[in-house]
Symmetry: D2
């Protein structure tokens, strides 16, 4: 339970604070012989970055320029751990001087202080979502392996913002610029909403949906380490996540068994996919489908009451660079987490069950 690693066989361990010298990670268990360069890692990291002049999204004036320090020789993985580093340049720590001794509601300030008796208050320290850049970098390697070796592809998108529901209509329009919204008819509305929220200094919650296509049956353990359990675990570690659904999720509460169970047809196809591609913790070969709820960011200008280190009440209004809808930036993070869980399960399954 060392709290800075994920995965058992494909294992990612991270370090670094938002305003420290650097963030970094070690990716252990990468199979040898994969062609990997820093360019591979940057694709998803760039998808995670706000575009120029984008409204309502926080942004550092620095490229997320990850550097690979080990584990690659002549362009190929060697089976040895890949060390990655991301230096912090544009830190603006002074933005946080006023909250040095104040607990921002909805943030980890209070809980870190209670847990450790000490905390790095600058930019949230280790609780900053900047940490997830490392997950995205590691996820890029996992995604490449899944795609090239198993044909599995992973795709996440923004499926709900506030009470606006977004259908998966146009995969082609998915991009950071379009808020990972797969319905071009809703992009303008989203822009307006984000501008409005920015203006009033508030934020909004969101839902991200992710699926893995071209799966094969047999991934996942049957009792603990069920695939759905490991997916749920991985997603719940993303900053701001408050709920996870597999397949039909909470809707199953209102269903009857005769409706929900997915009938099987000749040749092992399924009539429906209410289960989200997982039965008894193990993939069926159908698409794996997961929904994730992100809370509205607590880093907003609307003032509220909190306390300082002395327990005295204060009024706080959070300035600085902040997202009005954290689900957007989280789209590549969600994909990375799913990829890490799938490769980890695949390497285990291959060792133990495959001929």
């Amino acid at each position: 339970m060392t709290g800075n690693s994920i995965g058992k066989i494909f294992r990612v361990t991270t370090f670094g604070e938002s305003h420290g010298k650097s963030l970094g990670c070690i990716i252990d268990g990468v199979p040898p012989g994969m062609k990997i360069s820093e360019k591979d890692l940057r694709i998803d990291l760039d998808r995670r970055r706000p575009s120029e002049n984008e409204d309502g999204i926080s942004r550092r004036n620095e490229p997320d320029r990850v550097e690979i320090l080990s584990g690659i020789f002549n362009g190929f993985t060697t089976g040895n751990p890949i060390g990655i580093i991301l230096n912090n340049c544009d830190k603006r720590s002074q933005d946080y001087d006023n909250i040095r001794e104040i607990f921002r509601p909805g943030h980890a300030d209070y809980t870190y202080q209670k847990k450790y008796g000490v905390r790095d208050h600058r930019g949230g320290g280790r609780s900053s979502a900047r940490e997830t850049a490392m997950w995205v970098a590691a996820g890029s390697i996992a995604k490449k392996y899944l795609r090239q070796n198993l044909g599995i592809t992973i795709q996440a998108y923004l499926s709900q913002v506030g009470n606006m529901f977004i259908d998966f209509k146009e995969p082609s329009c998915l991009s950071r610029k379009n808020f990972f919204c797969p319905d071009s008819s809703k992009i303008l509305e989203l822009k307006k909403l984000f501008s409005h929220l920015k203006k009033i200094g508030d934020s909004v919650g969101s839902k991200v949906t992710v699926f893995a296509k071209h799966m094969f049956p047999g991934l996942g353990e049957p009792v603990f380490h069920k695939l759905n359990a490991d997916i749920s675990y991985a997603m719940m570690n993303i900053n701001g996540v408050k709920a996870v659904e597999i397949g039909d999720g909470f809707n199953v509460v209102q269903m009857n068994g005769s409706y929900h169970r997915d009938e099987i047809r000749k040749g092992g196809t399924f009539r429906t996919n209410h289960s989200g591609g997982i039965l008894g913790g193990i993939t069926t070969g159908q698409d794996v489908v997961v929904h994730i709820a992100f809370k509205p960011s607590s880093s907003i200008k609307v003032p509220c009451t909190s306390i300082n280190h002395d327990g005295e009440e204060v009024t706080i209004s959070v300035s600085g660079r902040h997202d009005v809808c954290i689900g957007i930036r989280a789209v590549p993070v969600v994909e990375a987490m799913l990829a890490i869980v799938l490769i980890d399960h695949f390497l285990m399954h291959k060792g133990r069950c495959m001929r």
Copy 2:
């Protein structure tokens, strides 16, 4: 990722199939000096069992008579692993002869066969919910430790069945007999619903809510092994779970940040508990609140289409002892899972952060 253990410091490892000789588990990491007897384990196991003549609930004609085989000396834990066994007496394996080579839709039959190339079809083998009896036994020890050493109490209840919502009105009426329904005015309605479903051979989904009271701040790791992530993981391993929410869960999608963040008041109390008692992966000291969605059981008489081992389509109707609403029996299981996660985090936190 050996798939039959949960917990790192307080670690539970299980074995056993529904219709094998026995189920059992090893509970490792129990602190020495606790007074524990088989009676302690039976309280929750009895809460898990259907009452006599209960409609719509499957039931074996055998007591869940767990036996402690080790780890207790003169009535007290020794710090050594506690071995527990539960023999299977009333097996009726013949009930399953007709599905020996058929995959029941909505069950793990198909996925086990694809993963392992072999499976014990009797009663679902290892995918049977009977397995959770071991979790409840282990959870009883965890609950006792939390209650006696830290004052933490855990309570789960049935919060939704189909489209019937149940409020936490009367904790006193919570019992297996009353379907763990905390509102006596709804019990008759539930009985009618279950009788009806039994008659038509169908089932219904449900939601269980669990909370831990008298928490203290500081439990949970801040990056991976966030407390919410470990809770979500634990719950998602329970048979039939399709979604997990912490605090306000999916409702946060429709909230603004100015509403959602829980303001802090003098002395470290909170005005609200939208977060479900966890910020940045670590407890705030508020109640930890979790909601879990259970799918409707797929073991129903309503016939449907499936395939056999030869890939041919067949019509299947599942007879035998089965629940119409699996959330009910899961109430003590949900409590056990939360207790196991909390004690595991506490022992880690105590070692690393407490003076």
Copy 3:
């Protein structure tokens, strides 16, 4: 670091005290499709048992009758955990009444009491070597897998007792009856020594050597979890082990590099095997060779000074069933430990590095 499990992918978790109800273990990670029966487990367990009327060796009047409780269906492993139980019948706990509050020198009595504040004094409780019966049972499955799937065979023997050195001359005469001594010309001498020790109530140290033949190159991790490190770890957990050597072991201290390094010849054969078949933590394909030192048993009649729970000095003489040379009974345990380490590494290697 839950202290009752070994292995990561092929994982064995045990419970049980010498004079408790039962000992047992859960073997997780056994690949599906292996033909396994209780008979397979008994072969090595019988090799571990003293023969009738054997001098100088402790012996319970009960067969080590292990029972498999799960994980096997129609004679084949299912990929699910194998639960094993061994009931304690002939306990004679009264033999230990006189040491209830006395710490036997050279035993774990004192350290258990200091660690836990409580201990099961009967027969050493959990520190009894009876525990290793479970390791032997688990090792039998590992050995069968290695032999049938990879052609690897494992053989241990008694290589030194006191100052008597035993060469590996006659593999055919290796048996419990012959003290696992591979040189028939030394058996009589050993018998005399053991009778003498029995008579004077003393014991003697010993060395066991084990090798794995028909290895292939590539097993082991290169930095931590080096194969030699995991082997050394496994052996050092056996009761009474005080030292472990790989290949030439301590003799390397007196060697020059020009002598020690094993030259490589055309086709990848080696001129010598000073390294014990492991370079940089990874197998070379040569035989893996390990030597293990066992201390003389402290359970002897020769009286000595110790203290009781009140810290007062007492004189103690240990009666009951005890070995005069614990290395003999340990031979199958040593084989089991090596087999568990090798299968564990193989399943990991297969998942991550093999095509």
Copy 4:
């Protein structure tokens, strides 16, 4: 079994090749509130470095200048992971061009190639002992914690080189300059031996002894994760180690039980310490004593036969910077490994057994 981490609660994960961009590590589980700076890490790293103009010891023309990247705030640990980096400046990779396709006997070249099908040949890649600089850095933190919080001190020294035995006479003269030889009367002899070996292009084996003083009873797990097992594991991961002894080690083979068992005296003191301070896997409170055998380096000029990637025989003579006696440089590494094992066990013991 990801092979680049050690420890469970205090967990060190490393990356980096000898001639790559950098080496680094993440130290997870460091308790909060410790005063730590880069200076603390450099003390032991400097002890590991050869002194100027020293004969017979390899040496890079660069300071081992580790940098702390995270986990420290205002000079104190925060409980978050400490990222450490060590850049490789003076690489001289061209020294290794001639062995690009040749397997050096006694090195990991052959086994890496067989395991992964690819390897970084420069300076041994990841199998270089340069990796242990990271272990020493992590060990410095562990040592400081043990010393300041528990009063435990750890000291290693060179106890044998070839057939020269060195007694622990003068702790005060222990230093890198003196080859960590605790007997000043032997230093000149060692110098001569090393000069001679350098001249003839050969190397020699060695033994290092380490002890931990001011221990308390109760550290270690009783079945697996015995303290001696974890120590043995840790040491066996150090490059070139071929054997490990606890206390009297292999000498116990020739002892009788009446001699070996350490009698206990009034107040819990022991008459002798044959056991090396560990009984049943748990500390007695006596000094923990461990001996470690290092093979003679295989990087020597004396030519020998090997093969290239095509399986053809070649003659090889290893030039470059190399140690004639690797045990010397290993002294601080041995201390670091012992410290990491002890703190890891302490944090676990504290969480589970201490009040």
